[in-house]
Point group: C2
Chain length 256, copies 2
DNA sequence: GAATTAAACTGGTTTACACCAGATTTATTT
DNA sequence: AAATAAATCTGGTGTAAACCAGTTTAATTC
């Protein structure tokens, strides 16, 4: 059962020391992780198929998959639907305190950002939105849905809500650019305060489809509310990220 | 195969509307999630066993487990080894910019913090540690390992390193209290700057055992480096959290 | 009643198939 | 050479059994 019968494996593949832990899938996981770290599996590279990995380890497919799921949870690999498993690119570093908008901080890290406008329209405020903006339920709000990419990989979908009273005819501007830019240059609105919440979540149908992922996969929900100098809500943003696309880094002076 | 044969299920259990998605495990997931949200499964409550859930849904155990894993990734439920699945308590809210130490911010949220000292000793700096502290490799450093609880659930294990030159005989103090406190009151050391990095990770053997979790489960690694007014590294802290125990919330003024 | 032992139960892990639908590649036709 | 059709490969999902090792509970003994 546990006999190893080398076959079919890419020529660069070699057996690496197994973990002490008896659990087979952990051994498989560590083996793959080692290949990634030592460079034989480069960033963006496609892993051997699940069935190929089986012949390399003598494990059942379920066991192989358990290992792959683990690596996925760690952010080391990701999958393309029915195409294969790939080595994840490094996550973007996200500093909530130095917010300058997606376009600029992705570019600042030597990556290529891209924004795609999915939808832009006027809606009636739901009870929840009304509470956030301090308007009456049913009041008009702009709703903007966008998809954003890093190096041509879709990493997040977002739904932005804006109060038309602050930004009349906002939808007529180019919304595939930085919204922060538009607010500043066309409306002279400066964001003075940001409230950001992050929590793991499961991607629902909508988000998953937009990210070309299976619905139900874990993601990261980033909720951002921007305020202007008068304390008014300028922007309410819900971002659903691929969980492996970003990592948080904060550098702060503790005043107190 | 898909026939539902109600049996053995707790009396409060009832079938809830299934998702449109044909995937069976998503239906199971949503069903359980609905029970949690509508309150029939209260915080801390134990779910029906996997085999019991089978009789309720007609699914294979593997399918049930796929659903449970999903809910676990979302942070809705957690497991106790070979005991059962439980509804997760709400996560603690973590604001990296308002760092006041674990004890105080957990208490501030109406939860009960507890710290347990696992180990405290002097070690020789590894290359990595030496680089962080700006000392020679092999130089003495204090190493403190602690486990911390919220409401008697172990939520993190941490390894702290401190430079003995700044804090001589630190190990003689009570290390199950707030270290920040000790540094301030006994050494007059004030932390002026913090650098915090967070990223998902897989829990290794050590951390998992300390948290009574299976090694390999996803966790959250929080790396914190504290500096004093002179820019010296006061504390280098590696915290391994249960991934479902905290959520991040930052409220910041964007100065620029 | 308390301590001990045995049985029942729970999740943990793995195997081995089976079938599906989308992605990719190959062969075929136009 | 380009468009099309078919075969193949890949992950996605699901079933049905086993067996293991801790947990928990029930039965038994002291």
């Amino acid at each position: 059962m546990t006999a190893k019968k080398p076959l079919d494996r890419p020529d660069w593949w070699m057996d690496l020391p197994d973990a002490v832990d008896s659990r087979h899938y952990l051994g498989v996981r560590d083996s793959i992780a080692a290949h990634i770290h030592n460079g034989s599996l480069a960033e963006g590279a496609c892993l051997p198929s699940e069935r190929q990995l089986q012949t390399g380890t003598g494990a059942a497919r379920g066991t192989i998959r358990a290992a792959l799921f683990q690596l996925e949870a760690e952010g080391l690999i990701y999958r393309k639907e029915r195409s294969g498993w790939y080595v994840s690119p490094p996550p973007i570093v996200y500093d909530p305190t130095r917010w300058e908008g997606f376009m600029s901080y992705v570019a600042a890290q030597g990556r290529t950002p891209k924004t795609e406008l999915l939808d832009a329209r006027t809606i009636a405020a739901t009870a929840e939105l009304a509470a956030v903006f301090g308007v009456d339920s049913g009041a008009p709000l702009y709703e903007i849905r966008r998809r954003r990419y890093i190096d041509d990989r879709a990493v997040l979908v977002e739904t932005i809500h804006v109060d038309p009273r602050l930004t009349p005819s906002l939808l007529e501007h180019d919304l595939s650019q930085s919204l922060t830019q538009v607010l500043r240059s066309h409306y002279s609105i400066a964001v003075v305060r940001n409230r950001i919440d992050m929590a793991p979540c499961a991607l629902t149908q909508d988000e998953a489809v937009a990210l070309r992922l299976k619905s139900g996969l874990p993601g990261l929900l980033v909720k951002r509310i921007s305020y202007d100098a008068q304390g008014r809500v300028v922007e309410y943003d819900l971002e659903y990220w691929r969980h492996d696309a970003l990592k948080i880094s904060v550098d702060i002076r503790v005043g107190n």
